[in-house]
């Protein structure tokens, strides 16, 4: 309505119109539709408030306040509902809180749209409310779940995902420690499998060599795997005695091999073991040597000597600790089984 038109309207109508115009504000959304909203409700939004006061807009359909593009009619009605409730000063905090709780129960798409719309109208309390709701949705979920909920494209390449932004295992110390742990775990698993044998083996140590021979020859089948291995520590001690070719050593060497390689479960008889002996010596040396090389090689590539020393010390500590632990368990088992 232009002012010229107003002049010809009858006084009563004019009064009503002006009253209406005073307490209603016209808002225009991006799609062109215009809504009339009660003034006190609309003024709750700072952006609308600014337009009305600073620029005098909104008093009629001609000069309706055009809202930002992010505010579509559905969102506008939601926002106005929010404003309508909150601009009333009489509500208690509890009431406001429970209204808010109910208000934000909507699907995530609408929640995001609402956040966007509220932000463009600078309605900070509503932005806070919706941000909190979105944060609650995101919290504690796995990336796949979050992508599912918000329809995010999974467009990071595998390398980018693995590239750590925040990766504590980047620390070479921790990586080495992890490797040592893994190695130790493997060894302990092996030891656990052979633990029962060790128990029996201890008992068998008192017997003479002949007894041992006959024992071995006698129970070929099952006890081979069980009995004929010893703990690594014992093997180590006997390393310097390997050169002699007594049957005792042979047996022990055979045990060493079984222990070291683990997968080799030859049912070779004692006689054949002499063949294996010389090979074993080499193989065993290789095993130990290669293990050391593995360690040294890795260390030299990445870390400086001072750090390496530190790591070695740490590594030893862990080995010692695990070894001690297993000794304890081992001896405890002995105690239990040998009353």
């Amino acid at each position: 309505m232009s002012e010229v038109d107003m002049a010809v309207i009858k006084p009563e109508r004019l009064q009503i119109c002006s009253q209406m115009m005073n307490s209603y504000i016209c808002l225009q959304t991006a799609d062109g539709s215009i809504q009339q909203v009660e003034q006190e409700v609309a003024m709750f939004c700072p952006m609308i408030c600014h337009e009305v006061i600073q620029k005098g807009m909104g008093s009629s359909k001609n000069c309706a306040i055009s809202l930002p593009q992010r505010v579509n009619p559905a969102m506008l009605s939601l926002i106005l509902d929010y404003c309508r409730f909150h601009q009333v000063p009489g509500h208690s905090n509890k009431e406001r809180k429970s209204f808010d709780e109910k208000f934000i129960r909507m699907d995530t798409k609408r929640l995001c749209e609402l956040t966007s719309a509220a932000d463009s109208l600078q309605l900070k309390p509503l932005v806070d409310l919706t941000s909190r709701a979105l944060a609650r949705i995101i919290e504690g979920k796995s990336p796949e779940e979050i992508r599912e909920i918000f329809h995010l494209p999974d467009d990071l390449t595998e390398e980018e995902k693995l590239e750590p932004l925040k990766n504590t295992t980047d620390d070479p110390r921790i990586r080495l420690l992890n490797r040592l742990y893994a190695k130790k775990r493997k060894e302990l698993k092996e030891r656990q499998k052979l633990k029962n044998d060790e128990v029996e083996e201890e008992r068998a140590d008192d017997r003479s060599v002949d007894d041992l021979l006959s024992f071995i020859n006698g129970d070929n089948g099952d006890s081979k795997g069980n009995k004929t291995s010893k703990s690594k520590k014992k093997n180590r001690k006997r390393k310097d005695q390997q050169k002699s070719t007594s049957t005792n050593e042979t047996i022990k060497n055979h045990n060493k091999e079984l222990n070291g390689l683990n997968s080799v479960r030859c049912s070779a008889e004692v006689g054949q073991k002499s063949w294996a002996t010389s090979n074993l010596l080499d193989v065993e040396d290789d095993i130990f040597a290669s293990k050391n090389e593995l360690d040294d090689g890795d260390i030299d590539d990445e870390i400086d000597p001072a750090l390496k020393e530190k790591i070695d010390r740490n590594g030893h500590v862990i080995l010692e600790f695990h070894f001690k632990a297993w000794c304890l368990i081992f001896f405890n088992c002995l105690v239990i089984e040998n009353p």
Partner: protein
């Protein structure tokens, strides 16, 4: 324009038109995403970097970083391992963060006052920090580096278990509005200088401090003051806006020797600079402190704004009763009153048996609506007080009585039943101990 899309998603497919249209959240403005991510625990916020290409660095601009006990789940007994991991995480986050940090909180129970914190504070002091919270749960007092004292944008500073020693060039925090120091060591001079050089200070909390014996609070904008500790003296200067005060003196002072030295009225001095006080809590032995020296029958200027008063009192101590009475007479608009009986350590020599029996006034409590009396055991002085309270408060709505123990409950209740009530709306609620 209707868009049809297939509801079933296959995992990891290339972004298509429909996906981009459905993805509403990534296109929200940066500050809104910052808000959303700031509300997540730091771990979730940083993990958002693997969601999609757009999200890779969105977390790096969050203005609010909080490292607390929930920041990682590691149940390990090895303290050094946890410490190393925590240090590692904080180093990484601070290094990769890109933008101003407005709020920083570090409060992890396994973090000792290590020198790594110095490095982090230096990093943070370069980025216009506004709120800084540091809580060292274990170990000895941590001394923040001097770069903390150059953060002129600080609005809120909270330190727990720290040693404050600002550099000599420290001129105060011009924008500091809230200061919270608990379990801190600070010398007298440093403390005075700190308070007087923060002109915008509105809230001050001080608990369990060492090194300060005379509290001189010179803060013209101070509105909230909460202290608890051991001190000799407290005095306010220019605190005309101070509205909420809670003071606890955790040590029992000996009245006699102090009286001999100084006869000036602590009570008068205390209230001189608190004309607009609205809420006052006198805890532990502070009433004893106030009772030292001369105690008038009422204050020269009544506290007209005082509407909530809470006093910890020993009902058998004559001086404390006198001080309490003076206070009660000086707050005509009191609406809520709480009297907590201090458990007696030894029997008091001066037993004032008839203090509350005498009719000291008429219509004293014209606005008193809610009263709570706790920790009583049914002694005469206590019952006298309740009796007189009930008969002098015409608009009383609720009186809550909570005894210290179950002994003598029945007698107490029986007596309570007999007391006359000036208010017809008064409810007497008895709570179990």
């Amino acid at each position: 324009m209707a868009i049809c899309y297939d509801k079933q998603r296959e995992p990891s497919r290339l972004p298509s038109k429909t996906d981009a249209e459905l993805d509403w959240i990534s296109n929200l403005p940066g500050h809104v995403i910052d808000q959303i991510l700031s509300r997540l625990p730091i771990r979730d916020a940083v993990r958002s970097s693997v969601l999609s290409r757009k999200w890779r660095y969105k977390w790096a601009t969050i203005p609010c970083i909080v490292f607390d006990n929930q920041c990682f789940n590691v149940s390990s007994q090895d303290q050094t391992f946890i410490k190393d991991k925590l240090v590692n995480i904080i180093d990484h986050v601070l290094l990769l963060h890109n933008g101003p940090i407005h709020k920083f909180k570090l409060s992890h129970r396994d973090l000792l006052g290590v020198s790594d914190i110095d490095r982090w504070i230096l990093c943070i002091s370069r980025s216009s920090i506004k709120e800084f919270v540091l809580e060292i749960w274990k170990g000895q007092r941590y001394k923040p580096p001097s770069c903390l004292f150059s953060c002129q944008n600080l609005i809120h500073l909270e330190l727990f278990n720290c040693l404050l020693k600002p550099p000599l060039t420290f001129k105060g925090f011009k924008n500091l509005r809230s200061l919270d120091l608990q379990h801190v060591t600070v010398t007298q001079d440093v403390f005075e200088k700190l308070i007087s050089s923060c002109p915008s200070l509105e809230r001050l909390t001080l608990m369990n401090f060492t090194g300060v014996t005379h509290l001189i609070i010179d803060a013209p904008n101070l509105q909230f003051f909460d202290i608890g500790g051991i001190f000799d003296d407290v005095s306010f200067l220019n605190t005309f806006h101070l509205a909420l005060v809670s003071i606890g003196l955790y040590v029992n002072i000996d009245n006699d020797e102090n009286n001999a030295r100084d006869n000036s009225s602590k009570l008068l001095r205390f209230f001189v600079h608190l004309p607009h006080i609205r809420r006052l809590e006198i805890q532990s032995y502070f009433l004893k402190y106030l009772a030292m020296g001369y105690v008038p029958s009422r204050l020269p200027n009544p506290c007209v704004d005082l509407n909530h008063l809470s006093i910890r009192i020993d009902f058998d101590d004559l001086e404390e009763n006198t001080a309490a009475l003076c206070l009660l007479r000086s707050c005509p608009n009191l609406q809520e009153l709480e009297m907590l009986a201090r458990p007696e350590e030894q029997t008091c020599i001066e037993r004032s048996t008839n203090f509350w029996e005498d009719d000291h006034w008429s219509s004293l409590f014209a606005h008193l609506r809610m009263v709570k009396v706790s920790g009583i055991s049914g002694v005469k002085s206590e019952m006298d007080f309740i009796k007189f309270l009930l008969s002098n408060s015409p608009v009383l709505e609720q009186l809550t009585v909570k005894p210290a123990s179950q002994e003598g409950e029945w007698e107490l209740m029986k007596e309570l039943l007999r007391f006359r009530r000036a208010s017809i709306y008064a409810e007497v609620i008895y709570l179990d101990s």
